[in-house]
């Protein structure tokens, strides 16, 4: 029983991590049809902001994770949108390549600035014991944060004027412009929001991973696969894909090794895309957000 609950918590944690690393990408892809290859680097930057904020500036770790990381990375996202992404809307493949260039450049820049070494901070929460097993307290924080992010995004898209305009822009940008909206600003804010969510994810993961300039690569493949399998519907698609892949990843990790877990995730995704080319939400959960 203790063991079953530990395994359940680990699976929920695995899903929460997938949500945190992929939700920013899902927002940008679902709302703007832009695949941001620099997403992994935004996660990396978020991790560095939290680490340097706590170790160098001596700030409170929760403040760094929840406020500083999303804020700074969100600003970086806005600047890059203004410099690069803005000029390529409607050209999906060119956007992808240009952001890949940005990804390489950001990795190179951070390597020049902080060096190619791993840095980390210790987890702020003590480990939690269940019966004779124990698990990291940080997992509970990640699960809570992922839940909060999903609910907050759902509220944002469902109940605010920005959310309404953003969803309308996804359907027909010209009509929004005709009705007096500003699709360009919506796109800019959405890209910034995606970057901020990546920053939040990076900050939240910083205590349990070693951050290195090339860390983005570790997350980018999983984040892409999750988003594409989820389909165009941001929140329902992301939840469905993360639940499926998180469970598979964690179960295979438990039965074999973490690497087999990743391979199982990929194989599952390739078969899923063969069966459902439009992603999970292309067939199920239609009409949700």
């Amino acid at each position: 029983m203790d063991f079953a609950s530990i395994l359940a918590i680990e699976i929920l944690g695995s899903i929460a991590i997938l949500v945190l690393i992929s939700i920013g990408l899902a927002v940008v892809f679902g709302m703007m049809k832009v695949i941001n290859m620099a997403h992994g680097e935004f996660i990396m930057l978020g991790g560095y902001v939290t680490i340097f904020g706590t170790t160098h500036a001596g700030l409170n770790i929760w403040f760094c994770i929840l406020v500083l990381s999303p804020l700074i990375v969100g600003l970086v996202g806005l600047v890059l949108e203004w410099l690069v992404v803005r000029h390529l809307y409607g050209r999906m493949i060119d956007t992808m390549l240009a952001t890949w260039g940005l990804s390489l450049a950001i990795v190179g820049l951070m390597t020049m600035l902080v060096g190619n070494t791993t840095t980390g901070i210790s987890t702020p929460l003590p480990s939690v014991a269940i019966g004779k097993f124990s698990t990291s307290g940080h997992v509970f924080f990640l699960i809570a944060l992922a839940t909060f992010v999903i609910i907050a995004l759902a509220c944002l898209f469902k109940f605010t004027t920005f959310g309404l305009t953003a969803r309308a822009t996804t359907q027909d940008a010209n009509m929004v412009a005709n009705l007096g909206g500003n699709p360009r600003r919506i796109y800019a804010v959405t890209f910034g929001l995606g970057a901020a969510l990546a920053g939040l994810g990076g900050g939240a993961l910083a205590p349990i991973i070693g951050v290195i300039p090339t860390i983005g690569i570790t997350y980018i493949a999983k984040a892409f696969i999750t988003v594409i399998s989820g389909g165009a519907t941001v929140i329902a698609g992301n939840l469905a894909a993360t639940s499926l892949f998180g469970t598979i990843n964690q179960l295979f990790t438990y039965w074999y090794t973490p690497i087999i877990g990743e391979v199982a995730l990929l194989v599952c995704a390739v078969i899923l895309i063969r069966l459902l080319p439009q992603g999970i939400t292309g067939r199920f959960f239609k009409g949700t957000i």
């Binding site: 695949i35 690069v84 000029h87 390529l88 050209r91 999906m92 493949i93 060119d94 992808m96 390549l97 240009a98 890949w100 260039g101 940005l102 990804s103 390489l104 450049a105 950001i106 990795v107 190179g108 820049l109 390597t111 020049m112 690569i217 980018i220 493949a221 892409f224 696969i225 594409i228 090794t257 690497i259 990743e262 391979v263 990929l266 995704a269 390739v270 078969i271 895309i273 063969r274 069966l275 080319p277």
Partner: protein, 344 residues
């Protein structure tokens, strides 16, 4: 390039130049140039798959890496011979066919093809990276994890003679020219013309009755085989393979060569590959600016400002000069139109 006399004379020129190079430079430079040429074969294979076939493969290094590993593992098991070379092309081609079956018959869009190939190469990287330890071996070849396979047996000439540094250079140049001629020949056949037609307008090609998925699958597999050949040569060059050849940086480099050289041409990506690698080597000698930083900026700037690459741009220069001399404006001669993907 419509003029056959010009074509043959430039080919002869390239061969003469290539054979002359080792007599004028140091052995170290020849060694460096050899790897540039090997990478040019890789660049050519993506120029074929992406530039001519319109299939955007972001993780093309998967096939390069599979070719290198297939050669290395086969060479350790059966000795370095034609079996190992055949396998180095067969394994990636088969893998491409399998992956292509899922992608092209599943009718997934361009962008998903890109992301899936990228994810596949990253997973291969992780998979190979985690196989260190004596329990992971294929036949008598330990895979070696992040340490890679060292002391890979290298090829020798058919008469049994050892291939020295110059020999390796000549072999690479020969294979590059052969691959180039093969692709040119293929593109002139009926199949090749369908390949280009699909790039231009997939829907129209399909409505005209061509089997788009099958044609893409063949293009993808040929590209995989040529990339595998480059991998085989790379394994021979350093007598070493490691998991970083599956890495994201390697994949990005291939993309950059093709983008800078020009999608829709074959010569452009070959030349830009050699030029960019030379630049990378020069940059690597100093410690101030990170190479990845420069390559990333180059990629972004080319996509933003020169999306069709350098070759179409340079190809226009003779026309412009000629029209200035003749005193009348003249239409550009199209040298393989730049691939306008995504809109089709």
């Amino acid at each position: 390039m419509k003029n056959p006399v010009l074509n043959i004379s430039s080919l002869v020129g390239v061969i003469v130049l290539a054979f002359a190079i080792p007599y004028f430079v140091e052995a170290f430079t020849v060694l460096n140039f050899t790897v540039y040429i090997i990478m040019a074969i890789l660049s050519l294979s993506l120029a074929f798959v992406w530039g001519m076939g319109g299939i955007m493969v972001l993780g093309h290094s998967a096939f390069f890496g599979l070719g290198a590993y297939a050669y290395a593992i086969a060479a350790v098991n059966f000795g370095p011979g034609w079996e190992a070379v055949t396998l180095s092309m067969l394994v990636p081609a088969t893998f491409a066919a399998l992956l292509g079956y899922f992608m092209f018959y599943g009718r997934i869009s361009d962008i998903y093809v890109g992301v899936i190939t990228l994810a596949v190469t990253l997973i291969l990287f992780n998979l190979i990276n985690s196989t260190s330890g004596p329990q992971y071996k294929i036949g008598s070849a330990p895979i070696g994890g992040y340490n890679g396979i060292t002391a890979v047996p290298t090829l020798s000439w058919p008469n049994g003679n050892f291939i020295d540094i110059n020999g390796m250079f000549y072999l690479s140049v020969g294979l590059l020219i052969l691959s180039y001629l093969f692709i040119r020949y293929y593109l002139s056949t009926r199949y090749g013309k369908v390949t280009v037609a699909i790039r231009e307008n997939e829907r129209r090609a399909e409505l005209l009755g061509y089997n788009v998925a099958q044609s893409k699958l063949i293009t993808f597999s040929i590209g995989g085989a040529i990339a595998g050949l480059a991998g085989c040569m790379f394994a021979n060059w350093g007598s070493f393979v490691g998991p970083t050849i599956f890495g994201l940086v390697q994949s990005a480099q291939i993309i950059i060569w093709v983008i800078v050289g020009g999608r829709g041409t074959l010569i452009g990506p070959i030349l830009s590959c050699i030029a960019i690698q030379w630049m990378t080597t020069q940059l690597g000698m100093q410690q101030v600016v990170n190479v990845g930083f420069v390559l990333g900026i180059v990629l972004t700037i080319f996509v933003l400002l020169v999306p069709s690459g350098l070759a179409p741009l340079l190809a226009k220069i003779p026309n412009v000069v000629r029209s200035r001399l003749n005193g009348k404006p003249k239409e550009d001669v199209a040298l393989g139109s730049p691939a306008e993907e995504g809109q089709t």
